[in-house]
């Protein structure tokens, strides 16, 4: 897989993961072009399309589009299920995930993706194992939090 993009029906990019080195300008250009292409497609259309010399596999979940770019010899259907498994992971972690969860906890969405896919290839396809890794990390986080000093009131209302 060369990259994965998550964007909303309004075309707002919610997550971007690049597995090939590209400059920022090129990334923005690709994103713009693809978001436009995919949003223009009608609901019953096929989930695959040729784009430049890549194959695009996309699927819509509620208000979010998940879109992957794969190479010629890669398998479209299994990519579709990669998307689905990622959605399942998010859903399980957040408990019935919605777009807002991904906006407000974008860093978590990236962490989960890194446990699941690395370098554009499936690293761990077992839902249990991926979530175990993330929950372990959260546990470490909780421990660390208890050790922290209480935060100021100003911080609490977001002024710092």
């Amino acid at each position: 897989m060369q990259f994965m993009l998550l964007f909303s029906r309004q075309g707002k990019l919610r997550l971007q993961k690049w597995y090939v080195p590209l400059c920022d300008k090129e990334k923005k250009k690709i994103t713009r072009e693809l978001v436009q292409t995919v949003l223009a497609r009608k609901p019953k259309m096929c989930s695959f399309l040729e784009w430049r010399d890549l194959k695009i596999v996309y699927k819509r979940y509620a208000s979010l589009y998940f879109c992957c770019a794969i190479e010629d010899q890669d398998n479209e259907l299994i990519t579709l299920e990669i998307i689905h498994r990622y959605v399942e992971l998010l859903d399980k972690y957040f408990g019935s995930v919605c777009e807002l969860d991904i906006i407000f906890n974008f860093e978590k969405a990236y962490f989960i993706l890194d446990e699941f896919l690395l370098g554009g290839e499936a690293q761990e396809t077992s839902k249990k194992n991926v979530l175990k890794a993330i929950e372990q990390a959260d546990l470490l986080q909780e421990d660390a939090k208890e050790a922290e000093t209480p935060r100021s009131v100003l911080e609490e209302i977001g002024l710092t």
């Binding site: 080195p21 019953k44 096929c46 259907l77 978590k108 290839e121 396809t125 911080e155």
Partner: protein
């Protein structure tokens, strides 16, 4: 705002994100972001040391701002600091920031690498995974240099945790993709292959991606993976749907791993060992059988996962192309999918059948589905599916069904999407020519093409129809009649006028007997289109008119009248004016005999491969041509034409397409062959070696040529490495050179490399590089390649150190105008001081510090050593960062040297 149920909940961050979401306009958002950036900047710059939590929060905010699409130019240092925090959560955010926002700041990379090194050696698996993820996400060369040695060790060590192994495998894969030269598997190879046997399915899933990539590059070293992969696959395929616990996905056992295993096997030919092969065939049969079983779940995930494996298995069957039984079964299975209610399956079935159509075993089976495919072309609602259907029709076309398929494609063209028309036109043109039994059908088809999609008919297409008509006298009368009729249409495409003008000019006499198409009627018909046409078409028509004068003397006065009119003879276009003047003169003074000789019928064109076919041709076989590739191919054709165009008069009718394309080499495709035969001297690689001595000089799909060289005084030695990238041997491999060279081995085995040493002595200064000619046979086709050897005059530099005073004194001494060469040119690369320095050092001169009063400028000094004499040279390079320009000045005691150095260097920066 949702309650943040998990994790640490950085409240400041959540509030900020809320604010951004509440912004009513882009301006408001930018304002809010700028406020936040100012805040963060002041926090980072403040006297008070920030605690880890705050640092993490601000870094996270910066990350959020960057992901919104804004530029971030600070915070990198703080993120790097977080890496060495012992709190997991801070470290994690630090790594995320680095992964998303790397920049090539070398100072920072060193610090990042240090932090990664610490985490890798921490023996804490969670930290190790974070570090490995970061390397895999960044994948830069610097990281490969630092860690490519260490990661294989982690991957195969007995005490490494499974999760770390998984990350290490894919991390290594990423590094291998970016810097294959730095990842050396060597001693680890067999242990890596044996990861296929690992107890942990996750480890196998990750490791197999690495193994597949490595196998593609070094099939021999990894070939033991075949039998391991087959037995692993067989265990999965025969397992019950609950055996693999969490690796079962919607009742399908380990779909990702199965696909990857089948993919790995596609890197190799069918197993030679009968038992292994038998087991594999059994697996493939089981997969095909399962497709016929009733689904275990109604969920689309179940059928997708199952079919993903099925399609991958079919790919493997097609790859082997040796089991007729399996090929036909695969074809029948795909045939069922052609009418499936899932659009995705119809799309994939059409795509996969394209490759089946090119196998002799399944071609006939594919053809039985023609009606379904034609129906898909007519009724599919999604253009990408229709495109697949068109590709498949093209692939399944042969003499038996050509008329039907071409007719369907033509009728589809009338309503086809604009995006695929050009490709469709090419396909129709090719099929019509390839399977034409009678040429009147061919002529009809092409004229129909022009009528329906004239805008998309490229020059190649109409050149070709004329070539064929000229070469076949049985079709000339028919062509003249048909084109005459086509021109009667009130609005006809300009391409039709071109074809009409040419054909009537040549063969109008064949229909002139009929009073309805008498010479004058023909002329008037053509001339009625004249004013609507572009200049090139008008020029063509003028030539047709002079041919008319020759064919039909009775039209002479009418045509002379036309030529004599001011709009012709005083036309503002030089070409048109010249033609009008010359043709008028020719028709007035030349005798009938002379005229007849000058305007004799065109001789037949030499038979050659169609240039249209060349345009559509692609390695992967028919059918799968995408627009993108077509464009590339076209660009390439134009370039070649540019080289071989001898005179403008020859360009009509594709003569300028160059010498005939020779017989195609097997599989590797004819693209190579014609590039080889046309390109003349290849000097792409040459200029890359001016400032360096080692590297790859040339590479295509067959051959790679690497160079190592060293120079001392006026002597040099060059090692050339010829690598055969194919699996077929190169025979009668010879190289010739106008420099003394030891002969090279005449045979290069598939995948092997041979070495050649060349000793070089520089007798006197020179400008032209020695030429190296390489000839060999690959699968019967002779390959011929000429390369410039990267031996340049600067290779014989001895650096000379000198002080500022000396430099300027010598500079003044070399003040004759011819001793100086200067060039001002635009920067081709980023103006990075370090890179410039490295290049100038690579040039071989001494780079002098503190000489030029302007510290931005570079000055160098050196002496070129030749057998005949020594040539002292001084150089000054003045970058202008604002204009992105350079001024380069070279002064030497010999004028030719200054000039040559200047030319060579101007291409380097």
């Amino acid at each position: 705002m949702p309650a943040v149920s998990k994790g640490d909940g950085m409240r400041g961050l959540a509030v900020f994100i809320s604010d951004i979401r509440n912004c009513k306009s882009k301006e408001a958002e930018i304002k809010r972001i700028n406020k936040e950036l100012a805040n963060i900047r002041s926090k980072f710059k403040g006297d008070k040391a920030l605690d880890g939590y705050s640092k993490k929060k601000y870094v996270c905010k910066l990350l959020f701002i960057f992901l919104l699409g804004h530029d971030i130019d600070f915070g990198h240092m703080e993120a790097v600091n977080l890496l060495s925090s012992n709190k997991y959560t801070e470290k994690q955010i630090g790594y995320l920031f680095i992964s998303v926002l790397v920049n090539s700041n070398s100072e920072l990379i060193r610090l990042i690498n240090n932090a990664i090194k610490n985490d890798l050696s921490s023996r804490n698996p969670t930290f190790m995974c974070l570090a490995l993820h970061c390397i895999a996400n960044v994948g830069s060369r610097e990281m490969a240099e630092a860690f490519a040695g260490e990661i294989p060790r982690i991957l195969v060590a007995g005490d490494t945790m499974d999760s770390v192994k998984q990350s290490a495998a894919l991390c290594l894969l990423r590094l291998y993709k970016t810097s294959p030269d730095l990842v050396l598997m060597g001693e680890w190879t067999s242990r890596v292959v044996h990861l296929l046997n690992d107890q942990h399915m996750g480890v196998v899933t990750a490791a197999i991606s690495l193994i597949t990539c490595l196998s593609q590059k070094n099939p021999d070293e990894f070939k033991t993976c075949v039998s391991l992969a087959v037995s692993r696959l067989s265990r999965i395929v025969s397992s019950a749907s609950t055996d693999l616990q969490d690796y079962t996905y919607y009742f399908v056992p380990a779909p990702w791993l199965s696909c990857k295993l089948l993919r790995l096997l596609q890197c190799y030919p069918p197993p030679e060992d009968g038992a292994v092969k038998g087991r594999l065939v059994e697996c493939l049969e089981t997969i095909l059988n399962k497709a016929q079983e009733p689904p275990k779940s109604k969920k689309v995930q179940h059928s997708n996962a199952k079919n993903a494996i099925l399609f991958e298995a079919i790919s493997l069957i097609i790859h082997y192309d040796s089991e007729p039984n399996l090929l036909v079964r695969a074809c029948n299975q795909l045939g069922q999918f052609l009418q499936h209610r899932e659009t995705n399956l119809r799309y994939l079935a059409l795509e996969s059948m394209c490759t089946l159509a090119s196998s002799e075993f399944s071609h006939e089976a594919v053809k039985t589905h023609i009606e379904t495919v034609i129906n898909a072309l007519k009724t599919e609602r999604d253009v990408s599916v229709r495109q697949r259907a068109a590709d498949l029709l093209y692939a399944m076309c042969d003499r038996s069904n050509a008329k039907q398929i071409v007719a369907e494609m033509l009728s589809y063209l009338e309503t086809a999407d604009y995006s695929i028309r050009e490709e469709m036109v090419l396909k129709v043109a090719i099929l019509a020519e390839k399977y034409a039994v009678d040429y009147s059908w061919y002529v009809d088809t092409i004229l129909n093409l022009i009528r329906i999609a004239g805008d998309y008919v490229s020059e190649e297409v109409w050149y070709r129809v004329i070539q064929i008509v000229i070469n076949r006298d049985d079709v000339q009368g028919y062509a003249a009649k048909t084109v005459f009729e086509a021109l009667q249409a009130p609005a006809c495409h300009e391409n039709m006028v071109k074809v009409g003008g040419y054909i009537l000019g040549e063969f109008g006499n064949l229909i002139a007997g009929d009073p309805r198409s008498s010479p004058l009627v023909q002329f008037n018909l053509l001339h009625s289109k004249f004013h609507l046409c572009s200049v090139p078409t008008r020029a063509l028509l003028l030539s047709a008119y002079i041919k008319f004068i020759n064919l039909f003397p009775e039209t002479k006065s009418t045509i002379q009248e036309v030529l004599r009119s001011d709009s012709q003879i005083r036309n503002s276009d030089v070409e048109l004016q010249q033609r009008a003047v010359e043709y008028l003169k020719l028709s007035s003074i030349a005798s009938t005999d002379v005229l007849a000789t000058v305007l004799e019928e065109m001789p037949p064109f030499p038979e050659r491969e169609s240039s249209i076919l060349a345009k559509l041709k692609k390695k992967k076989g028919p059918g799968a041509v995408s627009n993108h590739l077509l464009k590339t191919r076209k660009a390439c054709l134009t370039d070649i034409k540019g080289i071989s165009t001898p005179s403008p008069s020859a360009d009509l009718l594709g003569l300028r397409a160059g010498p005939p394309v020779t017989a195609a080499a097997p599989s590797a495709g004819s693209l190579l062959v014609d590039v080889f035969s046309e390109a003349g001297v290849n000097d792409d690689g040459f200029l890359r070696f001016v400032c360096k001595n080692n590297g790859v000089l040339f590479e295509n799909q067959l051959l790679q040529i690497g160079i190592k060289s060293e120079y001392r005084q006026n002597l040099g030695r060059m090692y050339l490495f010829y690598g055969n990238k194919t699996s077929v041997q190169f025979v009668t491999f010879t190289t010739t050179l106008n420099v003394q060279a030891k002969p090279v081995e005449p045979l290069i085995e598939g995948g092997a490399q041979v070495q050649q040493v060349i000793n070089i002595e520089c007798l006197t200064d020179f400008s032209d590089a020695p030429l190296l000619n390489i000839k060999f046979r690959y699968g019967g086709a002779l390959q011929n390649l000429t390369l410039k050897l990267p031996v340049t005059i600067n290779k014989f530099f001895q650096p000379t150190e000198m002080a500022s005073h000396d430099f300027f004194q010598r500079w003044k001494q070399l003040s004759l105008p011819q001793q100086e060469a200067q060039k001002i040119f635009k920067a081709n690369h980023a103006m990075d001081t370090e890179v410039l320095k490295a290049k100038l050092l690579g040039l071989g001169m001494a780079l002098l510090e503190n000489v030029d009063p302007n510290p931005e400028n570079f000055v160098c000094a050196g002496v070129i050593q030749t057998k005949a004499q020594q040539v002292g040279s001084l150089l000054r390079l003045e970058p202008n960062a604002q204009a992105q320009m350079y001024r380069l000045t070279v002064r030497s005691s010999k004028d030719t040297v200054s000039k040559r150095l200047c030319e060579l260097l101007a291409e380097q920066f």
